[in-house]
């Protein structure tokens, strides 16, 4: 089969099975025609020349459902659209946050609030996909999310742990897209449980395990020879990855119970707090990109009541994370991102006391990794309806993160189907956000 045929075969649209199957199939160990570098096409890790990076890794906190900007980090005190949520002064002169973030108010000097976010996607799946990949959701291809791009372009640091981990994730969050299956995020369903079953079961010696694996490989190889599909190849590939992870010296990184109680307490005992703590442990072990998802932000009804439940865990975990990273000297080269698919309508939906989807003007946060703290970037009008200054599109936002990581945003990588893609699509980095 020629390379071109390989490429064409690989572009079949197959929706959900697409993600892991495709790339894994193409990159059978050592036998792929693409293993040799092609100009601009998929090559080995770290083959892309990087520019100077201010950040080496990312903790990406994703507020799933669409976080209300007015009730969190961009209050408009006095405006008719503000509703009952009060604003409080933070430790940065120009930055006020909502009353639900008393702890973060003491750490805003580390944070850049991007107030002029703008997306063109108003539905959750599409919006989450766009936020993560900078491309629109289509039936025919899956794009890699930022974490996959980072590992692909910059290469792994820790050879035994996956470079990309997703905690509490969903279908349209972190993804390896059309890249090899090793760039897929390792999903951690529950931070408290960490990575389960990573050690051989009791009573199974190394000898027994190896014997079992030998026979299993034989059976699976025979099956793959007969049914040589992308999905089957992806499973074979994933077995090898699981085995090498079992051998890692750094498995402790997944165990947050190793942290002193005071630290666990500081992050919070809820799944998001535990996820943030796990994220910090993982980046300490040179995992490059960790995403932690906090869901429930789709506050069409009872927005103001729900804020009282949604915000405190985030306030606690994010402030603990920033302080902890700072104290360990990690904030310097770790970028902390807080993102969401869209904001919520400034106009209050009075029937249900809620706010609806609003991609036109919303807020995200950046901190650490060279980002200038204590500032707001971009402006909206007095009631928060429109961006009036320095609009930042989703693609620009991702390009800014990529820029901090030293990833060339203009670099074109060719997908297995021969189409060119860029890390943040057409996004232009906002260099003004860097100190």
């Amino acid at each position: 089969m020629t390379i071109r045929e390989h490429l064409r075969r690989a572009d079949e649209p197959s929706r959900r099975t697409f993600v892991s199957g495709l790339a894994a199939g193409l990159f059978g160990v050592g036998t792929s025609p693409l293993a040799s570098p092609l100009s601009g096409a998929l090559t080995q890790d770290g083959a892309v020349p990087l520019r100077h990076a201010t950040a080496k890794r990312v903790i990406y906190l994703y507020m799933s459902g669409g976080m209300s900007q007015l009730d969190t980090f961009s209050p408009k005190p006095g405006a008719a659209t503000q509703g009952p949520t009060e604003a409080i002064q933070s430790n940065a002169d120009d930055v006020r946050v909502s009353e639900h973030f008393p702890l973060m108010a003491r750490h805003m000097d580390k944070v850049c609030v991007v107030e002029s976010m703008n997306s063109n996607q108003g539905a959750h799946a599409q919006g989450q996909y766009y936020m993560h990949t900078s491309y629109e959701l289509r039936g025919t291809i899956r794009h890699p999310s930022l974490g996959a791009w980072l590992n692909y372009m910059a290469g792994p640091v820790n050879e035994t742990l996956p470079g990309h981990v997703a905690i509490n994730g969903g279908l349209y969050n972190a993804s390896g897209g059309f890249l090899e299956s090793k760039y897929m995020p390792l999903p951690i369903g529950s931070a408290e449980d960490g990575l389960q079953n990573s050690a051989r079961a009791d009573g199974v010696s190394e000898g027994i395990f190896d014997r079992r694996m030998r026979r299993l490989r034989e059976m699976n190889d025979a099956f793959r020879d007969r049914y040589n599909t992308k999905e089957v190849r992806a499973y074979g590939d994933m077995y090898e990855q699981a085995l090498s992870l079992m051998d890692s010296q750094d498995l402790d990184a997944f165990d947050i119970s190793k942290e002193p109680e005071s630290i666990q307490e500081a992050y919070g005992t809820d799944p998001f707090g535990k996820g943030c703590l796990l994220a910090r442990r993982l980046i300490e072990h040179d995992v490059r990109f960790v995403e932690v998802v906090k869901s429930g932000w789709d506050t069409h009804a009872e927005n103001f009541d729900q804020m009282g439940e949604l915000c405190p865990p985030v306030d606690r975990a994010l402030s603990a994370l920033l302080a902890d990273l700072d104290a360990r000297g990690l904030l310097e080269d770790t970028m902390v991102v807080l993102a969401t698919e869209f904001g919520r309508t400034p106009r209050i939906n009075t029937q249900r006391d809620g706010r609806d989807h609003y991609p036109k003007a919303f807020s995200c946060l950046l901190a650490g990794g060279g980002i200038q703290g204590g500032v707001k970037y971009g402006k909206t009008d007095a009631e928060g309806h429109e961006v009036t200054e320095d609009i930042v599109t989703v693609e620009d936002f991702n390009a800014t993160i990529a820029y901090g990581l030293g990833l060339p945003t203009e670099y074109e990588m060719y997908s297995p189907s021969g189409r060119p893609f860029r890390v943040a699509h057409k996004g232009i980095p906002v260099k003004a956000m860097f100190a």
């Binding site: 079949e12 959900r16 897929m184 079961a201 026979r215 499973y235 990855q241 809820d270």
Partner: protein, 366 residues
């Protein structure tokens, strides 16, 4: 706004919009309804729909096989939208009975496409190897154990007398529901005063636990409140989650990190969010977790019992292959396992079950 076909737009204002919508949606005169449901049922059986994606059908959409599509629509009308009857016909067709097609290239809906089992199918398949009767899992004795487990913290803080009293109540609750109701009615009258204070305290604790996002405590308190007769408290029924019961008998979605979720069960925060992709945690679970704990370590597991009953190595090998892969072993496979089992029958049996459950062949539907 686009008007619904077959419905006078003026009517919309006067009637309940939801009722009108459902009426329109299920009206057999609504042109797309039959296409949509027939297409989706075909996808369920064969793995690839005639119109893909199933949730994007437009006026000018043409099915991959228009003749088949219209046959299926006729069939759907003929069975009067009885999905069970419809699927029964699909499952007994020659097309469905054929060996599945591994590749989408040149696929013409002549047989099912090869798929990995859904998360629910994986779970249920595993369970049928563990439980003698998968539908007999929601028995009372388990509920007692579960109840004790759920109130473990409370029980710890009790003194001996209170503990014994509580235990007796639990036993009565499940062995004699009538007596329990009577007992509760009496005790409620006595305890009304004490209870209202306790309810206040619990409600207060519940609020705090919610704020912390401490779901375990939330569930515990919700259960305690229910025990006090306070119902309608928001909280998910997680108690049954650790049950070895059919996926359809468990709360959905299963909690984060559960076997079902590892294998791609939808989190249900978005539509159609289930998947059949490989990932590391699910394989680690097969390699070192579920298979070992629930099957190999349990002599009560039905597959293990069947193996013991089979006695002769040859019969054991057949049992394992039929049980796990629904086929008999090939001659070479039979030879290989015979050799191993002659060496160390106990370990050999375990190794064989472990290996078969980890094969691609088990996970993929041919």
């Amino acid at each position: 706004m686009r008007r619904f076909r077959g419905l006078d737009p003026d009517v919309r204002r006067e009637i309940d919009s939801r009722a009108a919508f459902s009426e329109w949606l299920t009206d057999s005169d609504t042109p797309r309804f039959t296409t949509v449901i027939a297409n989706r049922m075909w996808e369920r059986a064969f793995g690839v729909a005639l119109i893909e994606p199933v949730d994007d059908i437009k006026d000018d959409t043409v099915a991959a096989n228009p003749a088949l599509m219209s046959l299926l629509e006729d069939l759907m009308r003929e069975v009067d939208y009885d999905l069970r009857a419809f699927l029964e016909i699909l499952y007994t067709t020659d097309a469905y009975q054929r060996e599945s097609i591994p590749d989408r290239e040149g696929y013409a809906h002549q047989a099912p496409i090869m798929r990995r089992m859904s998360a629910e199918q994986c779970w249920d398949s595993m369970l049928t190897l563990v439980l003698p009767d998968i539908d007999a899992t929601l028995n009372e004795p388990d509920a007692v154990a579960l109840d004790i487990y759920a109130s473990y913290e409370d029980l710890l803080s009790m003194d001996e007398e209170e503990f014994e009293e509580e235990l007796e109540i639990m036993i009565v609750r499940y062995s004699d529901p009538m007596a329990y109701r009577e007992m509760r009615r009496e005790s409620r009258e006595n305890d009304d005063q004490r209870n209202s204070a306790r309810v206040r305290m619990l409600t207060d604790q519940l609020k705090k636990a919610r704020k912390r996002g401490d779901t375990v405590t939330v569930e515990r308190i919700v259960q305690s409140l229910r025990d006090l007769g306070i119902t309608g408290v928001r909280g998910r029924d997680r108690l049954r989650v650790n049950y070895m019961a059919r996926a359809s008998d468990l709360p959905s979605p299963a909690p984060d990190g559960h076997f079902l979720r590892q294998f791609g069960q939808s989190k249900r925060d978005l539509i159609s969010a289930s998947h059949e992709d490989a990932n590391i945690p699910q394989l680690l679970n097969l390699l070192n977790g579920f298979v070992e704990e629930r099957l190999l370590d349990q002599t009560q597991a039905v597959l293990r019992r069947e193996m013991i009953r089979a006695r002769a190595p040859l019969a054991q090998i057949n049992t394992a292959y039929v049980g796990v892969l629904s086929r008999e072993p090939g001659p070479e496979e039979r030879e290989m396992w015979l050799r191993i089992m002659r060496g160390d029958p106990r370990q050999g049996t375990k190794d064989m079950i472990w290996t078969l459950l980890n094969t691609h062949e088990f996970l993929f539907i041919r």
